[in-house]
């Protein structure tokens, strides 16, 4: 029987040499005349083990990692094809604690299947949700999503079902589903992993959204920095169209829905939903004032659902297993699971999907294993470049929307970036302002001007110029930006700045300026 060997095609695996590993394995198979095929799967999300090669034996998958191309001949000598012992052998992949303790609902197939095999997708439960949705009235689909408690995974946490209901009830000859795949936050890669590792789940989620709201056209707006995701999504949409999942009659329902993949052009602010809509329309990515809400007047002035990749990719499992199944995970008003992305200076970095409610310390110390450098953890930035820096003192904060807000932070897209004790928090605060200045769309003054003034003020503090006065000024500026900005870019940049000032005041009191010798 043909043995299947899995070598990921995920961009992170490729960045660590998966392509040369796959070539080396292909060479060994040919040279030894073996009966084996290589499957290019998505990533399991354990990046310290990438490239992670898996061999499927009697339904079990034995892992080897991290594999370098030069290890490949030795792996074959050691009998990798029969699950042979080797220092890189990890045993059965499913039994690795990092994977075993997760609750994978949205990422159930990611890393397991061939991302572009519709057969694989269906064999692992794919399309069950869409089939169910096709048989239901639109309002019932919306109710199911509302009842699941699913909230926007892009960061704002708005209930997905309520957004859908608004669009369903809105009157328009044309409605749109827009998938926000403009994942620009540092420390996040969940959207990228789904698009590269299980693109059909996003397509299925968007199709369900279309049927539920009466929208007939969907756009996936992703980043030019994600060429592998664009390629995988584009190919998957083509396959889905061929199979009748997309097109004039979704799964033979007689109802139309199709998807187009669009690429951004390197503007972070286009991750903000109204800027994204302008960009899709072919305009500058300038933020729009709300109201009108995109659900009433969105893309080209039509009622539009705009959801994050993970929100949409979580819908198929809800439609397959029911609202109650999904709602039973989580805590408080944060229901279901969240794909944590543990990144930066961390020993076991990767994607960890789990129910809401783990403490930050548990995530960083136990799951992440502390820093990669082995030094003490100084700070953790949660929620991307607009998220707050958390000190160890706040490591008991449970991971959910409300708990983080109560500590003047946000979970955002659930990216967690770990810093060791060499981090200079004044420098990080300055970077937050600098980034805002580079990426500001320029429409509102607090963001456009405030960010530049913020950089200057941080520099003055660093140079010991009237530090006390400038600290007050910086805090005041943050206040203006927070309450005066039109969108989250200017409005949330104060989070990293103020949290750094509050929790790490010692970094904002540099040595006084030494007077030049006469």
């Amino acid at each position: 029987m043909t043995i299947r060997i899995y070598v990921p095609r995920d961009a992170a695996a490729l960045a660590l040499g998966a392509e040369t590993v796959a070539k080396a394995i292909a060479n060994e198979i040919a040279a030894r005349g073996l009966d084996a095929e290589i499957v290019r799967n998505g990533s399991r999300g354990m990046f310290w083990l990438e490239p992670l090669v898996e061999v499927e034996l009697a339904g079990k998958r034995i892992g080897y990692g991290p594999v370098k191309a030069r290890d490949v001949p030795a792996l074959f000598e050691a009998g990798m094809m029969n699950g042979g012992e080797h220092p890189l052998c990890l045993g059965e992949v499913e039994d690795l604690p990092f994977l075993k303790e997760q609750t994978r609902l949205t990422f159930a197939r990611c890393g397991i299947t061939d991302p572009l095999s519709l057969k694989d997708y269906e064999a692992h439960g794919g399309l069950a949700g869409l089939r169910h949705a096709v048989s239901m009235a639109p309002a019932d689909v919306v109710k199911e999503v509302t009842d699941s408690g699913l909230r926007g995974r892009g960061g704002a946490g708005f209930p997905t079902g309520i957004k859908w209901k608004t669009v369903l009830d809105a009157i328009g000859d044309r409605k749109y589903i827009v998938c926000n795949a403009d994942e620009g936050d540092s420390g996040t890669f969940a959207d990228r992993m789904i698009m590269e590792g299980d693109p059909f789940v996003l397509i299925e989620g968007m199709a369900i959204s279309g049927l539920a709201t009466g929208a007939t056209k969907g756009f996936v707006y992703t980043r030019s920095e994600y060429p592998h995701a664009i390629a995988a999504m584009t190919e998957a949409v083509g396959i889905a169209r061929q199979a009748g999942i997309l097109g004039p009659s979704v799964l033979g329902s007689g109802r139309a829905f199709d998807i187009e993949v669009r690429t951004g052009a390197g503007a972070y602010v286009c991750g903000e939903e109204t800027a994204l809509l302008n960009s899709l329309e072919g305009k500058r990515g300038i933020v729009r004032a709300k109201p009108p809400l995109p659900a009433h007047k969105g893309l080209f002035g039509c009622p539009t659902v705009i959801n994050n990749v993970i929100s949409l990719a979580s819908v198929p499992v809800i439609m397959e297993k029911g609202a109650a199944f999904y709602r039973d995970f989580g805590m408080g008003r944060s229901r279901g699971t969240i794909p944590l992305q543990i990144a930066g200076n961390v020993r076991y970095g990767g994607l960890y999907e789990t129910a809401f409610g783990l403490s930050l310390g548990d995530i960083v110390d136990r799951i992440g294993g502390g820093t990669a450098t082995g030094r003490p953890v100084k700070a953790v930035q949660v929620g991307g470049p607009l998220g707050a820096y958390f000190p160890r003192a706040l490591f008991d904060t449970p991971f959910d929307y409300e708990s983080f807000a109560a500590k003047d932070g946000l979970i955002g897209h659930a990216g967690i970036v770990v810093f060791d004790d060499t981090a200079d928090m004044l420098k990080q605060a300055r970077f937050a302002m600098e980034f805002c200045a580079i990426e500001s769309c320029g429409k509102c003054t607090p963001c456009r001007i405030g960010s530049t003034r913020g950089v200057e003020t941080a520099d003055k503090i660093a140079h010991g110029i009237e530090p006390e006065k400038n600290r007050v000024l910086l805090a005041d500026l943050c206040n203006t930006m927070k309450f005066g900005s039109l969108c989250a870019l200017g409005g949330f940049t104060p989070y990293p700045v103020l949290s750094a000032m509050t929790h790490f005041p010692e970094d904002f009191s540099p040595a006084p300026l030494v007077e030049a010798a006469e």
């Binding site: 992170a12 540092s186 920095e225 990515g285």
Partner: protein, 159 residues
Amino acid sequence: MTIRIAEGDIAERTRAIVADLRSLEGSLLPILHEVQEEFGYVPQEALPVIAQELNLSRAEVHGVVTFYHDYRDHPAGRHVLKLCRAEACQSMGGDALAERVKALLGIDFHQTMLDGSVTLEPVYCLGLCACAPAAMLDGEVYGRIDDAMAAELVAEARR
């Protein structure tokens, strides 16, 4: 060596691109992407053609081109090396890596080497945050870049 493209040629090729893509909803970004793919940058001469074909003002097209970081107004080097400058890469020594690469190339960000071999650009997140620091060379991604690998990347780019 800079290859000069005749103005009439630019107009003609731009018009062909617009004709291909104009039926898309909100076609301006896809058109600009394709123009940049065709010429390696978005030539000034292409703007009035696009404006006329899409019934936009020239100012509107100019506004869009200059808003987005991706569109270049002049050709890049033969290779483009993008270094991630965002927080996750900073936490793993991204700043030191950037200094090292700049020193090896002898250029700063947004600059191209005199021999036209490499353009160095910052990028804010490649989504490789759990294998930082990361870089992209001509669309190929690289993670966990140490000093030796930085030197290899630079050598590869300079070829």
